[in-house]
Symmetry: C2
DNA sequence: TGTCACAAAATTGTCAACAATCTGCAAAAA
DNA sequence: TTTTTGCAGATTGTTGACAATTTTGTGACA
């Protein structure tokens, strides 16, 4: 069946690094089509903020930049559209989606229901190893609060919730949850949690862990639900404050700091 | 800005039907691209069972059948893949997805949490007009039970849940709920509810309406949650029975009837 | 000065051709 | 007989070209 394998069993040390690199590229191209690679790269760029919400994504520009033709780009656009990260207007182009506050609120409500399910489930199934892992995340977050490191706190917070959802063992739930988180990242007014709110959020995390560890599904579910809803309220309040003091500009920030 | 509109304001009666048809087609093409039309048609065909789960969808065949080139077909495939209705294997093609029982169970669990949210919400917000509409659906379902019309019951059941979700007023929730229902339609062992289970399901529907109308969010949420979980149990039991008696064949069915 | 019409440029929508890969089958080898 | 090898056809992956549409720029004209 198989004609001789392309990959040599052993690598000449001299070219090891280059060959290992191209090997990885080859392996990637053998499992993923260009479309998928393009899709992942555009998604990464969007989530990293390289393309701000509202930005128009031009097929030819992206095609040239990534060294492929427009076909894969267009197919990737269709995937990103279905995933809710971009919006397509016929004959006008695709744009990075801008999640309005209404939709962000809806997502929070939905997330709350999903996280409640997660809490209930974990109260029944959490292993000691899992408990240990979550506890280390909670501890790390509290350290971040003490040192005022909002960026680290933000990342740990994402990881904390993602791991909990994953541990619940429902793959469909996990997949949809992650999609929602990605969309929420496009809610530009979200940004990082403001510093003075971190202690409250961190305290809720510890309480969640306690509720789950207690083995009481209803308590754990409620703790998760309440936490997400509190987070929603904080986000709305944040948004309102930003709107009243106008869009974020350097001048504005300096005025505020002074 | 606008050059003269293509569409004549009044139609010559003689060719009205033909022209009306092509007018509709033209209007459709002005808002939707071929890709979207193709996507919708394939999706409809899949959900209608014209392409059974596992069926391979060949690009060239579909392109010729629908009178377009392969480009729009491929783009539609990427959308359907992201939506979970087909699965793509590199260099091998796309296949109509076959939802395994595990995933169906996961979807039921997730749906239960979402429907619980719906129940809680509606207990607080249901208008009299909405109550009336839902009640008419429940009544119609009970009539279908009496006359043993499983097909009508099935459709009304879908409508019942879809309307409830829609009435909850969370568009994101509605969109994801509908996606899940579509995927569930690909769980081939689901099929229609077996006749003798309809009365139970119908009773639960009436109870849901009552709980929502009572205005008690927790009771309404629990009624919805329980109903979906019961539905899940019935589906699993159904699947087990089918598996033990082997795949559905004419011979098998006749043996069972005899 | 503003705005309308109209041409030019840029961009998207669609298509057909070419390249790469897989599948099935028959012939050759063990 | 069983396994392997080597085509030939079919199918997918990718590309570049052309058509249709929108956007932009420009100048005439009120």
């Amino acid at each position: 069946m198989a004609t001789a394998e392309v990959l040599p069993p052993v690598l000449p040390p001299a070219v090891a690094s280059i060959t290992a690199d191209s090997l990885a590229t080859i392996a990637l191209l053998q499992t993923s089509s260009l479309t998928v690679l393009v899709q992942q790269d555009i998604e990464r760029a969007i989530l990293a903020g390289e393309y701000a919400p509202g930005t128009k994504l031009v097929e030819t520009a992206l095609a040239e930049k990534m060294g492929v033709s427009r076909g894969p780009i267009r197919e990737a656009f269709r995937m990103l559209d279905e995933a809710g990260l971009v919006r397509t207007e016929k004959n006008r182009g695709v744009f990075v989606r801008d999640i309005p506050i209404d939709e962000a609120i809806e997502i929070f409500d939905l997330r709350a229901a999903m996280d409640e399910l997660v809490g209930r489930q974990l109260a029944k199934s959490l292993t000691t190893a899992q408990h240990k892992e979550i506890k280390s995340l909670v501890d790390a977050m509290e350290r971040a609060v003490k040192s005022g490191d909002t960026r680290t706190y933000h990342l740990l917070n994402l990881k904390f919730h993602d791991r909990l959802v994953e541990m619940a063992g429902n793959r469909k739930l996990t997949a949809i949850y992650r999609k929602l988180i990605k969309e929420l990242a496009l809610f530009r007014r979200l940004n990082l949690a403001d510093g003075w709110l971190m202690p409250i959020s961190a305290g809720e995390h510890r309480q969640i862990l306690k509720a789950i560890a207690s083995g009481d599904p209803e308590a754990a579910g409620r703790a998760m639900y309440d936490h997400v809803m509190e987070s929603k309220e904080r986000t709305i309040a944040n948004d309102l404050r930003r709107q009243t003091r106008g869009p974020e500009t350097v001048a504005n920030r300096e005025k505020r700091v002074a």
